[in-house]
């Protein structure tokens, strides 16, 4: 193990003496905890956090667009009429610099030309979400305890909105009126999107410290938001959006890693990465059903637009488990690539795309047959995927080097990578 001999020019308190003293200083070492296992779980969380926001936001957009578009025309005092031509969604990619932290930026990419626009500078940040009308993209900035609204008409950052300390997740109501921002210690700050002003933070009990939880999920009717206080706490707390009151916590038996709600608003699925299960919760009664066994370390869940099947990505066993929503029974696992991370389903419900970390591929799954197609090479290190609302293109972000690779969904062929620089970690697509 020893490689470096002490320098000749060091007098008295020399390297050998110092080595002995350092050795002695570690005396009284307490027993070590389950560091390896915890590191794996924390690592999965890191990946998940880095990768998930795009899918969550995109799914929310798709659901919201089909349901609530007419409700979105309410007067907005701050945002001018969109200058972006209608029908050309924009991809927003959040990037961080190569260092461990530092200011980040958001790169807009026009889906019409697949070219990157000028960077919008934001602080070190984590998650993004787009309003259903596509006028604003919200970016949570961890270090400054703010949420930065980006006007998609001008691609400029607005005045930062102060929220509870350490914001890490954003979920927007289907009518686009309120953006709920989850912060540490289970605090939820509502932001009125019309004025970009923050309301009084709601404290979710039980409070669960610093542990980043699954992003909150909201029912399609926008009435209830389900919040996980922490990935370590085994409950889900419903919050009524009308009153901002937290309801009685629902016991899950394990900490959730991801949450999804069926399009009919009847069931919440909580993915428990520790035991490798998915817990169904009946929304009407607020009770959890028996956990459904899936694969090892499930990290992501997506539900088909018809609400028939939930797909769970098992990052430890390199598979995707389909769950029949009518019966809550798991089907046979579908083999995908190594280290699958995230899943996105096309708006027509025909194909699910799963990104695989290791070979840098995307596996398409034909939903009708439940069969995985040949993997599509999509860069060296895919960390997130989002699909355009028209279902024509999937965009895959790669963190090393910082590129975005478009995949034509009709042919599963990739286009030339779009350079965005840095390390992309989140993607959203506006309607």
């Amino acid at each position: 193990m020893r490689q470096g001999a002490p320098d000749m020019n060091e007098p008295h308190l020399n390297g050998t003496a110092l080595r002995a003293m350092l050795e002695r200083a570690t005396a009284g070492e307490p027993p070590i905890g389950a560091v390896a296992q915890n590191a794996l779980l924390a690592g999965l969380k890191r990946r998940r956090r880095r990768r998930a926001s795009g899918i969550v936001a995109c799914a929310a957009v798709v659901a919201a667009v089909s349901l609530i578009v007419p409700a979105l025309t309410g007067a907005r005092s701050t945002t001018p009429a969109p200058a972006t031509p209608t029908g050309t969604p924009t991809v927003y990619v959040a990037n961080r610099p190569s260092g461990p932290s530092g200011p980040g930026w958001v790169t807009p990419i026009s889906t019409a030309t697949n070219t990157a626009g000028p960077r919008v500078n934001v602080g070190p940040s984590y998650l993004m979400a787009a309003t259903p009308n596509g006028k604003t993209v919200y970016v949570a900035s961890l270090s400054s305890d703010t949420v930065i609204p980006i006007s998609t008409a001008t691609n400029t950052a607005g005045r930062p909105i102060k929220v509870a300390r350490f914001p890490f997740a954003i979920t927007i109501t289907p009518d686009g009126k309120i953006a709920y921002v989850q912060s540490e210690n289970s605090r939820l700050t509502p932001i009125m999107t019309a004025t970009n002003t923050a309301g009084q933070p709601i404290t979710i009990n039980p409070v669960a410290g610093y542990n980043v939880a699954a992003s909150p999920a909201i029912t399609p009717d926008g009435k209830t938001i389900y919040v996980s206080p922490s990935s370590q706490s085994d409950v889900l707390v419903p919050v009524k959006t009308a009153t901002d009151r937290a309801g009685k916590p629902i016991k899950l038996g394990a900490g959730p890693f991801d949450i999804a709600i069926t399009p009919d608003g009847k069931t919440v699925y909580a993915v428990n990465d520790g035991p490798g299960t998915v817990t169904p919760i009946d929304i009407a009664t607020g009770t959890a059903g028996p956990p459904i066994k899936v694969g090892q370390y499930p990290v992501d869940i997506a539900i088909t637009p018809d609400g028939k099947t939930a797909y769970v990505v098992n990052s430890g066993s390199n598979t995707v488990t389909p769950i029949d929503i009518a019966t809550n029974k798991a089907g046979p696992p579908i083999k995908v690539g190594v280290y699958p991370q995230n899943i996105a389903i096309t708006p027509d419900g025909k194909t699910a795309y799963v990104i695989n970390d290791d070979p840098g591929t995307v596996t398409p799954i034909d939903i009708a047959t439940g069969k995985a197609g040949p993997p599509v090479k999509a860069g060296s290190s895919p960390v997130g995927i989002a699909i355009t609302p028209d279902g024509k293109t999937a965009y895959v972000i790669n963190d090393d080097p910082g590129t975005v690779v478009p995949i034509d969904i009709a042919t599963n062929k990739t286009g030339p990578p779009i350079k965005v620089g840095g390390y992309p970690y989140a993607i959203v697509i506006t309607p």
Binding site: A25, A27, G33, A39, L40, A42, R46, P100, S381
Partner: protein, 177 residues
């Protein structure tokens, strides 16, 4: 063996040493365990790429040092992502010598502390330490010299230093002159 199993095997083997190194950097076991865990969690994120390299342990050291330095710089946001726990003061577990040494280390600025721990605990050469810190070997040498001066000043006032030295002579440790 799945990639997760492979990672667990590596992490189980590496975590005691990583925690000890982290302890010498931060001075309390609780934070040390967090640092080790965060380091391993960061490695897991890109495990496939990392595990293909030869120098996985060197990579672990580098990640640990970066994590520690980022923490010292007060970038409070970074660890939230990995489940960072609030820092607790170390429970005094006596051995006087241990405390004296830790107090002495605590007088060093973070980078100097890294240099000392990497060179004299992790047994890295000047060049390896320079590479790890992204600075010149000359810078490492001058940091080492200054850190040793500082430690000498701090520890020199304590009788415990003599005890260490005596202890070392008793056990017949090879002295480098």
């Amino acid at each position: 063996m799945t990639a997760a199993e492979e990672f667990i095997e590596f992490a189980t083997g590496a975590s005691p040493h990583l925690r000890r190194t982290a302890f010498l950097l931060c001075g309390n076991w609780h934070t040390a365990e967090d640092l080790a865990q965060t380091t391993l969690a960061k490695m897991f994120v890109s495990w496939r790429r990392i595990s293909r390299r030869d120098a996985v342990y060197a990579y672990a050291n580098r990640t640990l040092v970066n994590t520690y330095l980022a923490d010292r710089r007060g970038k409070r946001a970074r660890e939230l992502l990995g489940g960072w726990l609030p820092e607790r003061p170390a429970a005094p577990q006596t051995p006087e010598l241990r405390m004296v040494m830790l107090d002495a280390l605590a007088t060093l600025p973070p980078k100097a502390r890294v240099v000392v721990v990497m060179r004299y605990w992790a047994d890295l050469s000047v060049d390896q330490t320079a590479e790890l810190l992204g600075c010149s070997p000359g810078n490492v040498k001058s940091q080492s010299a200054r850190a040793l001066d500082k430690l000498r000043t701090v520890l020199g006032e304590s009788s415990s230093l003599d005890q260490v030295m005596d202890k070392r002579h008793e056990t017949g440790g090879a002295r480098h002159e």
